[in-house]
Symmetry: C2
Subunit: 456 residues, 2 copies
């Protein structure tokens, strides 16, 4: 079929939606390194994992052999409320850029949580419910994950306790209220409700919190409360597994119109969106069936792929979680307060780290002001107001399309538009007022933080 007949938005029929999640690890020759018990430095066992996580999720976390995991019927029902998400042909953007490239984006923002996070939230809530739990605990920074989890728990009738980094709790009251509207309890972290919270408050009375501290509080409550487990929205293998629904739908929509992607681009924080988007493309690449350029885009202020080290590190600043081998800037690394909250993580998914180390994907980093320039340009042309995180992918997609303009190549560029920017208007305001700046950490800063990597 000629590209001219491609609609603005390709929607799959509900019958064409993925029936199973795809586990990239099954096709990797070099498997991602296992999580290590921080006490013994030995690979985490299912039993150890199950203290903190739901059992089924712990199994998914450890399983690097099973290629497909069937999506349970109840999750498929929930998916049908907001999925399939559209694969949009960016005709207007192409025309404005004057590029011969064909640009497609998978838009994951058309649900109330405003991002792709819901894909894994409903899966994790489902397995918690199936295990007979009363509820789950989690942390949230920018708030997208907390919102998604609140929605999923509300749907299944599970309790949801969210520890929200205090500065976000205060600066993003709308996010907080969305979570409350979905029945979640939202506690600013650090709080008086946990030992670790009380300890931190005693030591740093005025602190506005950190993701590391919020994780520690959420884990403490999960481990100490009958009928509760802890869930996490990124980094983990299980999350990438659930998020593969993004890539599977994208690939199916392209296949339906006989389109072969040349470049696949996604933003990368902990890796949940990127790992999901690229999954089936990387699968073909791993099996030698096709080749794709796959590009991870990260902020210059938090460049774990492009300037980090591939090593075992702590996943949280509190150092209570298992160690993961990943591209990391060191768990002590404090990213500048840029506006892409979802990309401010010192490390990166172990699976993606291994793929990157094996040369199977590229990574690049971009400056915040350039990202917002691209975001505003995109919004005005394509209508959608993108999240700052997503706009990292937009920036690089535009750059690649402009390269095609120079070379005259009609490449098919696919990128992930992970979410909307409705709750990021302070960031847009700073940009509109010319008050946004860039921050690039010095080599010394990164080296200092990497000095504290654990000796494994």
């Amino acid at each position: 079929m000629s590209n001219n007949e491609i609609p603005y938005k390709i929607y799959l029929e509900e019958s064409e939606m993925p029936k199973a999640w795809y586990n990239m690890r099954a096709d990797m020759k070099n498997k991602p390194a296992p999580l290590l018990n921080p006490g013994t430095l030995k690979p985490m066992t299912l039993e150890e994992m199950s203290v903190v996580f739901c059992e089924e999720l712990a199994k998914q976390e450890l399983d690097d052999q099973t290629r497909f995991f069937e999506i349970p019927e109840e999750i498929k029902s929930f998916y049908r409320m907001y999925r399939p998400s559209p694969l949009v042909r960016a005709y207007c953007l192409e025309e404005k850029l004057g590029t011969p490239a064909h640009i497609y984006y998978k838009f994951e923002g058309n649900n109330t949580s405003g991002s792709h996070k819901l894909n894994s939230a409903i899966a994790q809530a489902y397995y918690a419910k199936k295990q007979g739990l009363k509820g789950v605990t989690t942390e949230t920074g920018a708030g997208q994950w907390g919102t998604a989890l609140s929605m999923a728990c509300s749907y299944l009738g599970l309790d949801c306790k969210v520890y929200m980094v205090k500065c976000s709790y205060e600066q993003k009251p709308f996010r907080r209220e969305v979570m409350r509207t979905y029945g979640a309890s939202v506690t600013p972290s650090p709080s008086e409700t946990t030992n670790v919270g009380r300890k931190i408050l005693a030591e740093h009375p005025g602190t506005t919190g950190s993701l590391g501290c919020a994780i520690s509080e959420a884990v403490e409550v999960a481990v100490g409360t009958e009928g509760y487990k802890y869930v996490l929205g990124s980094v983990l293998n299980q999350v990438l597994l659930h998020q593969s629904v993004i890539g599977l739908e994208t690939k199916a929509a392209l296949d339906k119109y006989g389109i072969k992607a040349d470049i696949v681009i996604g933003c990368a924080g902990g890796g949940s969106n990127l790992g999901g988007l690229i999954a089936p493309f990387m699968g073909e690449k791993l099996r030698g069936e096709a080749d794709y350029r796959i590009i991870a885009v990260e902020p210059k202020s938090c460049p774990s792929f492009t300037r980090g080290k591939y090593a075992y590190d702590f996943c949280d600043t509190g150092m209570v979680c298992p160690l993961a081998k990943m591209y990391t800037l060191g768990s002590d690394f404090i990213p500048a307060p840029n506006h892409a909250g979802g990309l401010r993580y010192h490390g990166m998914s172990s699976t993606l780290s291994q793929l990157y180390d094996d040369g199977l994907m590229e990574a690049t980093s971009v400056e915040q002001t350039e990202v917002f320039k691209a975001a505003e340009y995109f919004a005005r042309v394509e209508g959608i107001l993108p999240a700052p995180e997503s706009s990292h992918a937009i920036k690089v997609a535009i750059d690649e399309a402009l390269k095609c303009k120079e070379t005259g190549e009609a490449k098919n560029i696919v990128f992930g538009l992970t979410g909307t920017g409705y709750f990021d208007m302070y960031a847009y305001e700073a940009f509109n007022d010319g008050k946004m700046s860039d921050y690039i950490p010095s080599d010394e800063e990164i080296a200092k933080s990497l000095e504290k990597l654990p000796k494994v």
Copy 2:
């Protein structure tokens, strides 16, 4: 086809999208009363209308004979960026309510403006551009219309000057920033930029503004600036015409699956959404081809249909605009500061007013706290966080579905979900904190305001 085979979301193919807007007035035996020149009290002529409005739009405003207006190609292109909107089968809501009714909602919130307003914004901006104008002016209260118009103007390269009621400008900084991101200039009203603004500021130095004042400022700037016209997001016949795309898509989606609606429900402020949603259903009713129950839902705090008078009245508090015959509470009526900003208008579309007066549709009013109860219930079950305005329709749809539960009838209930509530979280917060109250105006209050109706 059996109802069991109906997908969660019915999407039309792009080829099935409406090619023309439907003008209900063409099928009305009793035509809506004409707008009157406030000076002469005679029907407004095309020439008089064209001082303020674009000529093509003024023609549409006056034309009660032409049944279909072809949608220009450029507008259809823009529509394809966010339309067709889904007609959602509310399976989860039905199950939760335990009703035999089948509930469908047309979801218009899946675009950055967050509401149906974009359907008319792009049309009005298109005709302004076609007339060779430099830009348009408008007012906005809650901000949905201003956001939609900013997006449309940005797409077409038109300048957009928005006068935003000062209290909204200050209380809804996010809305303001979305408009600025789309390149609009947003001025808090009253302002020093107009005669009427300066006059009001001199008389009432601390005023936080009103919609009536913002209209007057926007009209003054349009009339006084070369290359500018004024545009309006509701009430007018032209707006209902453009919004008919909502109803036409809804009807096409139902027809595709052989579903006959029994009840069609929409919220009503000025009438833009309701008039658009019901258009093709009302058309069949007017032509005697089918029957439908059609229900307008308004807030008890601003009950123009249910407690107003059908009479000529001023459209704005400044009394500079033409007189319209409509159900009105009087242009002096100040609705309580409830949270459904889009429904706080003292009057109602002339077309809908005539249809209501002819007994072709019903109207009902609901209390704010009941509306938010329904909104939260809906959000938790169906996932989407609804706008307060839209939630008026949700409340009545749920009530009708519960009646079906009592009678055992499997009625098909269709309602309009006009937008999302992302920018209404202060309202949800008030509800979540138990601090929301209801307000019902007294008979005396309404009678007093109606005393000032113009003598026509």
